[in-house]
């Protein structure tokens, strides 16, 4: 990427160089301070979770855990059915991600490369649903789920989250980027339209599908509002709900135990962040005219 001011800099008089160096240093300092404010709370969380529970209230706070101690983590496993919560979250998030990838790929392909009556109008409707806040539809969705006897099950979290307007939009954009001549070539070779999709277009769209999957994973792993409404019994809680309940149970208990739970819940998100950062950024800013 070309830096904006690099080129300007080369035409600047030599006399101002030194002044520029200082302004660069100042800018880096300001950015570093901002980064400390952003990363500091997370590092404090990690460090406090590694301190013995008895020391978790200590001030000044030790940002480096000098005597790392996993007692808090053992406590979390005792007080909270962490394994169950992780399994629930993984099941819900995984099935939503796979479901979104499949349905969005199919619908995105249809909107991009198949011709049918009402295509434009239908696509506009799909886009328009993105603007409706989830809170407005939650009451009828809750009643529907209750009506079919799925309330307080994991399916109540999974099924309504699979149809995805944003994923469909993203996959349509992706498929539009693939030439339609591929379909013509496949047709000449005698491939059926379904075969054309499955063997030609779908494999080429894997990077787009990865974006849809990663975004779905990140969003639903962290989701709080819907699980709060849809699940009642603790065995159906997902991680964020379990953590908030842990905080309630402990009351005056040790901070480091609660924070150990928080750290555990962040690990999968962190893994996704490390491997899918580019895809996440692209997905979040997709369709914003960037």
């Amino acid at each position: 990427m070309t830096l904006i001011s690099e080129r300007v800099e080369t035409t600047a008089p030599v006399a101002t160089r030194r002044k520029r160096d200082w302004s660069v240093a100042g800018r880096i300092a300001a950015l570093l301070i901002a980064a400390v404010f952003v990363l500091g709370p997370v590092l404090w969380t990690l460090s406090t979770s590694l301190r013995p529970p008895s020391e978790s209230f200590k001030l000044p706070p030790a940002f480096l855990p000098l005597n790392p101690d996993l007692a808090s983590y053992q406590q979390v496993f005792k007080q909270l059915n962490i394994v169950g919560l992780v399994l629930n979250s993984a099941l819900v998030t995984g099935l939503i991600a796979v479901g979104q990838m499949l349905t969005a790929a199919l619908a995105g392909y249809a909107f991009a490369h198949l011709r049918f009556r009402g295509r434009g109008a239908l696509f506009s409707i799909v886009l328009a649903t993105m603007m409706v806040p989830a809170q407005v539809t939650i009451v009828p969705v809750f009643m529907l789920i209750r009506g079919v006897g799925l309330s307080d099950t994991l399916l109540a979290l999974i099924i309504p989250a699979i149809p995805t307007a944003f994923g469909t939009f993203l996959m349509r954009q992706y498929f539009l980027g693939l030439p339609s001549e591929l379909a013509e070539a496949a047709a000449i070779d005698g491939a059926s339209p379904w075969r054309t999709f499955r063997s030609v277009y779908a494999p080429l769209a894997v990077p787009g599908l990865a974006i849809v999957g990663i975004l779905a994973f990140n969003f639903h792993w962290n989701e709080f509002f819907r699980p709060l409404i849809m699940t009642i019994s603790e065995q159906n809680f997902t991680l964020p709900l379990g953590l908030v309940s842990l905080q309630g149970n402990l009351g005056t208990g040790s901070i480091s135990v609660v924070l150990a739970g928080v750290v555990l819940s962040m690990i999968p998100a962190l893994v996704v962040f490390m491997f899918g950062q580019r895809a996440l950024q692209d997905g979040l800013t997709a369709g914003t005219g960037k």
Binding site: F37, V42, L106, V139, F142, M143, L239, L284
Partner: protein, 320 residues
């Protein structure tokens, strides 16, 4: 029309080539298959959205005119729900809180994001740029519930790190979470902390699309430092700013997780938000009609603000 529907893989851009494309002469069975094929591809999404988005929108609108507690049969009450909701002091305060929250949080979020994006985008070693970009983006991947949990400890009055830091510069302990003003401030700070990275990413994208030549021309004309940003960057960035502000406002209007976990809406009603009263009236008081009415009002507000922004933008947004 028949050619259009019978060539599912036809190219939208080159209708003239459909004649050659049809050379394979699909069998009757093939042609029938081709006609329903697009609908087979669309069925999971369309049916799912119909059931879980479109139907609920209509149902929510209808439900706003009924009184219903799930147990007994719903009764039609006309505009009573709306009248009650509009007069309910808690609902009023919550909407007012939400509006104040949106104004302050969005202003902070956009200002911070824009300032940092400009600083990151200017002459910096690329590894530093990557580091800052990842750092500012990082909070977005965390759950708002987890973030609110550890922020509650950071803002604790007696043993929180924030008050300890303030004490170093001689500020007496601030009762962050036990006073109305303090908790409102914490909710805003925590929300902005977690979300400014999104606007930041949008601004980075917008800045990257400004042609270098524009800056060269400006510097030949003698523009330097802040003047350069004021007269070149900001006008050229206005389309990005519009998108970033629309998205930031829509998201902020729906704030729930942070105030719910941080303060449960208190003390008093000081951090109760619009979405929180929807949640409470539906799932705690079982007044589903009133909850729907509040939801309808919130949706109308969101639509009105979005429309107003796009109208205003015609005057202030500068397209290249």
């Amino acid at each position: 029309m028949s050619t259009a529907t019978s060539t599912p893989t036809g190219t939208g851009k080159q209708p003239g080539r459909q004649a050659t494309h049809k050379h394979s002469q699909p069998s009757k069975r093939g042609r029938v298959q081709q006609r329903w094929l697009p609908w087979a591809f669309l069925a999971p999404t369309i049916v799912g959205m119909g059931i879980f988005t479109l139907l609920p929108i209509v149902a929510s609108l209808a439900l706003a005119f009924f009184r219903w507690d799930i147990i007994s049969a719903p009764t039609f009450v006309g505009f009573d729900n709306f009248a009650e909701v509009v007069q309910d002091p808690t609902v009023r305060v919550s909407f007012l809180n939400t509006i104040v929250f949106v104004i302050v949080a969005v202003a902070l979020q956009l200002g911070l994001a824009l300032g940092l994006a400009i600083m990151v985008q200017e002459k910096l070693p690329s590894w530093l740029r990557v580091f800052f970009r990842s750092a500012f983006f990082f909070p977005l991947i965390l759950s708002a519930a987890s973030v609110s949990i550890f922020m509650r400890y950071l803002f604790n009055e007696q043993f929180g790190v924030v008050n300890w830091l303030l004490s170093l510069v001689g500020v007496p302990a601030v009762p962050w979470l036990t006073t109305p003003g303090g908790s409102a401030a914490v909710v805003i700070l925590v929300y902005v902390w977690q979300n400014f990275g999104f606007s930041f990413l949008l601004f980075i994208g917008g800045l990257a699309s400004i042609p270098v030549e524009t800056y060269e021309a400006a510097s030949i004309d003698g523009a330097t430092g802040w003047r350069k940003h004021f007269y070149v960057t900001l006008p050229l960035l206005s389309p990005t700013t519009l998108v970033a502000s629309v998205m930031a406002i829509i998201n902020a209007l729906q704030v729930f997780d942070q105030p719910y976990v941080l303060t449960r809406g208190g003390p008093g009603d000081s951090t109760r938000t619009a979405v929180m009263v929807i949640f409470e009236s539906a799932f705690q008081r079982l007044e589903f009609g009133q909850a729907s009415a509040i939801g309808v009002i919130l949706t109308l507000i969101i639509m009105a603000i979005t429309a107003a922004q796009f109208r205003l933008s015609k005057r202030f947004v500068f397209y290249q």
